[in-house]
């Protein structure tokens, strides 16, 4: 049997965890056409994390992005500021683009935040959906797959060994390298998740090495996203990992309002315009409208609909953590606050009640 990885501590007797994530996009509010300053956006992200903690949410996560219309290039530094501003909420990067980073530096940064935050940080490592950062940081796009796999492996090795001997293709060798500081964790490392964007091969690789899997969704029937999760579980089993040692998180669009249609009216322009600018294609209105059906993976609607959807998704995926993206595309702070309030008052208690084991 394979030894288990350093796992995120998720107390299932309290039910599924619920968190927020932001990609740090910096886009105009399509309802007003206005964009806040980069400084205000960063400060509002920190404030959002504080509010999430006050409302009892479990996690807060920030992704790294180096393209136009984003402010999250130095996502670890924002996480560090959040670590200082909060006391109990778990923090995570998500995703850290490990392909174009030095795993030693990523570990050093995250381990430092772990010490600042009293053991609250985790890393979600991914490989970037847009590729401008390869030119920016001096990497060859032809090495896209190789860079990710090698650096992700090295990050795991550093995480599980204080003294590292390693050699590879994309980074100078490490000879008896003493990688410090070590996180305040019994095993001396951090929980490290593999980000999976819907690729079966990527889910399979996460299973093969028994790391927790973080799966992001855009839209479509929830049942479609069960397939890579099943493949992850099967592959991990075949590789000798215990099902009990697997951790699954899912993430996607979320927006709530007491009035169901107000939620759709408010969020659709943010998502549609935001996707156009960051991805080159809007979000089909039909697919968004199908979000009113419990089978669609988009968690938009009144609290009752969202509770029904998340519980249905939990039944399908058996995930341990759900992470909501409610600030995409220039959502104003007042809407973010109202969402967090409704999550804390209505959604979170119901989700916890029905998923605790």
């Amino acid at each position: 049997m394979e030894q288990s990885r350093i796992l995120p501590e998720i107390d299932q007797s309290k039910g599924m965890e619920f968190g927020l994530y932001t990609l740090g996009d910096h886009l105009p509010n399509p309802h007003t056409g206005k964009r806040i300053s980069a400084q205000q956006r960063i400060k509002e992200i920190i404030e959002t994390a504080v509010l999430a903690e006050e409302a009892g949410l479990d996690t807060f996560q920030i992704g790294e992005s180096h393209q136009d219309s984003f402010i999250s290039q130095a996502h670890m530094i924002i996480l560090s500021a959040i670590a200082q501003a909060t006391d109990s909420i778990k923090l995570s990067s998500g995703a850290t683009i490990i392909s174009t980073s030095d795993p030693v530096r990523v570990f050093e940064d995250a381990a430092t935040i772990d010490l600042i935050s009293n053991g609250r940080i985790k890393i979600v490592a991914g490989r970037a959906s847009r590729i401008g950062l390869f030119d920016l940081l001096g990497y060859d796009l032809n090495d896209y797959e190789g860079l990710f796999e090698e650096k992700f492996d090295l990050l795991l090795k550093i995480n599980e060994n204080e003294i590292v001997n390693w050699s590879g293709e994309y980074r100078p060798s490490l000879k008896n390298a003493h990688i410090i500081p070590r996180p305040d964790h019994p095993k001396g490392g951090l929980p490290i998740w593999r980000a999976v964007g819907g690729s079966y091969a990527s889910a399979q690789k996460a299973g093969r090495i028994g790391v927790p899997m973080y799966q992001a969704h855009l839209g479509g029937p929830a049942s479609e996203f069960k397939k890579p999760i099943d493949l992850y579980k099967e592959t991990a089993s075949a590789a000798g990992y215990q099902q009990n040692d697997l951790r699954i998180a899912t993430a996607g669009f979320f927006f709530t309002d007491e009035n169901k249609m107000d939620a759709f009216r408010a969020y659709y322009p943010h998502v549609n315009e935001g996707m156009k600018r960051t991805n080159g294609q809007g979000f089909p209105k039909q697919a968004f409208a199908h979000g009113q059906d419990y089978r669609s993976v988009i968690n938009v609607g009144d609290p009752e609909l969202i509770i029904e959807k998340i519980l249905y998704q939990h039944e399908l995926f058996g995930h341990h953590r759900y992470i909501a993206q409610l600030d995409f595309g220039g959502v104003p702070m007042e809407d973010i606050k109202r969402n967090i309030h409704i999550i804390g008052e209505k959604i979170l208690p119901a989700i916890k009640k029905y998923t605790k084991k």
Binding site: S129, R130, I131, G132, L141, N142, Y144, M261, F264, R265, Y268, N279, G280, Q281, P284, K285, Q286, F288, A289
Partner: protein
């Protein structure tokens, strides 16, 4: 609506001539109502697709892909090479997102050396357009070498068929857009 006529060959001139007559036919009939553009891939320096998001390309590659993404109606002109579409046109599809042609109406005209290849657009091009979610006009115009004389289409029947293709394409596109608009209004957000 944004209408784009694209000649998909990077060699020869018959596909460009045929595509240009489609462009002229649209201009004559619908010019005032729509924004109509013409692209000849022969005049563009296109990169090979490497899987990146189309927004991350530069130069002609970015310009051409952006024009396709912005179009509501697309006319693809293609020659037949080795019983299929040319590499230049396939590369263009490879440069685009998987659902790039969603909600767009697409139409085909083909230039070929022989009638033996009549089903090539049906069996080679339509599956790609369908996979990319285009609404494809069922019929297409198939033009032979013998229909050309120097840089014009000599066979007058071809012009007649092109006019019908343009009409069929606009009917499908306008009907689809209107009903899609009504459906989206009914969503209530």
């Amino acid at each position: 609506m944004n209408i784009l006529v694209l000649s998909g060959s990077n060699v020869g001139n018959k596909t460009a001539i045929a595509s240009k007559s489609v462009f002229d036919a649209i201009k004559n009939r619908y010019g005032a109502e729509h924004n109509i553009q013409f692209i000849d891939l022969k005049e563009k320096e296109m990169q090979f697709s490497d899987g990146r998001n189309y927004l991350d390309y530069t130069g002609d590659t970015k310009e051409v892909t952006q024009q396709i993404m912005d179009a509501d109606i697309l006319f693809f002109g293609t020659p037949i090479f080795q019983a299929s579409i040319p590499a230049s046109l396939k590369n263009l599809f490879d440069l685009l997102p998987q659902n790039a042609l969603r909600n767009k109406t697409s139409s085909i005209l083909t230039t070929a050396g022989s009638n033996m290849h009549f089903l090539v657009p049906e069996q080679q091009l339509k599956p790609i357009l369908g996979y990319m979610k285009a609404n494809v006009v069922p019929n297409y115009v198939y033009i032979l070498d013998t229909d050309f004389d120097k840089d014009t289409i000599y066979n007058d029947d071809i012009h007649f068929r092109i006019q019908k293709l343009v009409e069929d394409t606009l009917i499908l596109a306008r009907a689809y857009k209107e009903i899609q608009r009504q459906e989206e209004e009914a969503y209530g957000f």
